[in-house]
């Protein structure tokens, strides 16, 4: 038995006992206090079930506001001591016990046969994005088997994150059709033209990956960079992954320390072409980095500021330069891809707030309106004059007055009039005012 299970059993026992005591206690104030215990236990279960925000709401709104309202009304009405009079419908109690026990048995059977544990959640679809990093290559289209998912991605361009199918697919990269008229563009799959790259890739459910199409036109390579969207535990930190997409190099990625050059830290060592570093977690802020090949600095990154809660990806890749005699046609450059935002922690206030203000905005507004109406309604219901006016109307309503004025001469007709409106006559006027 794990600690959690023991804790669950203890708190569940407290919850059930407090609910039972709430039902049987003769004093309404005691009942309200047992209700608080029960609500606190349920709040504890919310914490166990990864709903910390709801646990806090449970304690403040339920155990705080609602129960205080109950206690207030109980004491206002002076109805702590209950009962005394014999029940008019005593047989209801035994019938209720029998029926609810039957319902409980049915519920247990349904839970046992429902096999809740066996139901596995649907895995979220894999997500991915593509980066064109081949210098000198035309804009490309990317196909999964025979389905086009990326259209006309130019060099250096990063597509938005998109949902991908689960399972193994052939990733085919074709040069985009340059013709203005789309009807003139043949389908590269059916026309049998040669792709720039064709790589089988396995897409796993629940992952987020950045695919970098790097290398050269002659020897392209598809580099998969895992880009996690899992919630970041510590506040004010970010994730960083560095990728070497520069052919024929082995590089180090060094974080510079401005005050003390001896304390420079190598974040990734010996990254060959296509190499991907592990995920480094850094506090947010301004950083300076160097891409070094041996002792020689290839590229310097200066004045870069990383935002918290994001996964940043740095790619060392080649860039075309204007051709001059005797000069290389490309030079290394550092590309900072658009950061991938991490999801907020499950059950936390940020995640709940995001959902409330996006998908659930309309229900949220409606509930706000409902609360406003409730406020007005509660005030109107408890106003003293309203109650007094109601009472007066119950005794002498204008209709009765009119009938009385019309009828009194005809003595025989009187019982007819009172039979048509028996209620005001039979109802005794409430005593005390």
């Amino acid at each position: 038995m794990t600690v959690e299970l023991v804790l669950f059993i203890v708190v569940a026992a407290v919850a059930i006992f407090s609910a039972a005591l709430m039902l049987v206690s003769r004093n309404a104030v005691h009942s309200a206090l047992f209700l608080v215990v029960n609500l606190l236990c349920v709040g504890f279960f919310y914490l166990m079930l990864a709903a910390p925000f709801l646990a806090m709401v449970q304690i403040t709104v339920y155990a705080g506001a609602i129960v205080v309202l109950f206690l207030f009304v109980i004491m206002l009405l002076g109805s702590e001591r209950l009962g005394g009079r014999p029940a008019k419908y005593g047989w209801v109690a035994s019938g209720a016990v029998v029926l609810t026990s039957a319902f409980l048995i049915v519920a247990f059977i349904a839970i046992l046969q429902g096999n809740i544990e066996g139901l596995k959640p649907i895995e979220p679809a894999p997500q991915g994005r593509f980066v064109h990093a081949i210098p000198g290559a035309p804009a490309v289209d990317v196909y999964l088997n025979d389905e086009r998912i990326v259209e006309k991605a130019a060099y250096g361009q990063t597509t938005a994150l998109m949902a991908l199918p689960t399972g193994e697919r052939n990733v085919l990269v074709y040069p985009s059709c340059t013709n203005e008229d789309p009807a003139q563009c043949p389908n590269p799959i059916t026309s049998g033209s040669a792709p720039i790259a064709a790589v089988p890739v396995r897409f796993e459910a629940g992952t987020t990956t950045t695919y970098i199409i790097g290398g050269t036109v002659q020897a392209p390579q598809l580099i998969s960079v895992p880009t996690t969207r899992a919630p970041i535990e510590a506040d004010n930190t970010m994730r960083l992954t560095v990728v070497n997409a520069l052919p024929d190099t082995t590089v180090n990625f060094v974080q510079l320390n401005a005050e003390n050059p001896a304390a420079n830290e190598t974040l990734a060592e010996g990254l060959a072409f296509g190499g991907v570093s592990g995920v480094v977690t850094l506090p947010r802020g301004a950083y300076e980095f160097d891409w070094n090949q041996g002792e020689r600095r290839l590229v310097a990154v200066r004045g870069w500021r990383g935002e918290a809660g994001n996964h940043h990806v740095f790619v060392l890749m080649a860039e075309e330069v204007p051709v001059a005699a005797g000069e290389p046609t490309t030079r290394p450059v550092n590309a900072h891809l658009p950061p991938v935002e991490a999801e907020k922690a499950f059950g936390g206030p940020q995640r709940l707030g995001e959902e409330l203000l996006s998908r659930y905005l309309l229900p949220f507004e409606l509930v706000a309106l409902l609360l406003l109406a409730t406020m007005v309604g509660a005030i109107i219901l408890t106003r003293e004059e309203v109650i007094r006016r109601e009472r007066r109307r119950l005794v002498v309503s204008p209709a009765i007055k009119r009938i009385n004025r019309a009828v009194p001469i005809d003595v025989k007709a009187e019982p007819v009039a009172s039979a048509a409106l028996p209620e005001p006559d039979r109802q005794p006027e409430p005593s005390g005012d």
Partner: protein
């Protein structure tokens, strides 16, 4: 997301038990305030099962439903208690057996 440390079945069973106790309270007790408290108990039991399923499926929708239920429960209690106060003022009792003025 990690599977829950305590199997969800236990939470659902507990929620069913608490719900039944709430139903029993509504049926057996005759004090209107006690009936309201039992209704709160039932709402809480339903909330517990919603949060448990939200955890099992790793989906926030259950928790949002609970958020709305809590809000509406607060509204319901405010109106309900205002009604009880109004009834008590006119009838000097909140025994539901005696509230039969609608029967004609």
């Amino acid at each position: 997301m990690q599977p829950p440390a305590v199997a969800i079945d236990y939470f659902i069973v507990l929620s069913a038990v608490l719900f039944i106790m709430g139903v029993l309270g509504v049926l057996v007790r005759r004090n209107a305030i006690m009936i309201f408290m039992s209704v709160e108990l039932m709402l809480n039991a339903a909330n517990l099962s919603l949060v448990a399923f939200a955890r099992q499926w790793g989906n926030m929708n259950g928790q949002l439903a609970v958020f709305f239920v809590i809000t509406i429960a607060a509204a319901e209690v405010a109106i309900g208690l205002a009604l009880i106060v109004a009834i008590f003022r006119s009838k000097k009792s909140i025994d539901v057996d005696e509230l039969n003025m609608m029967q004609g």
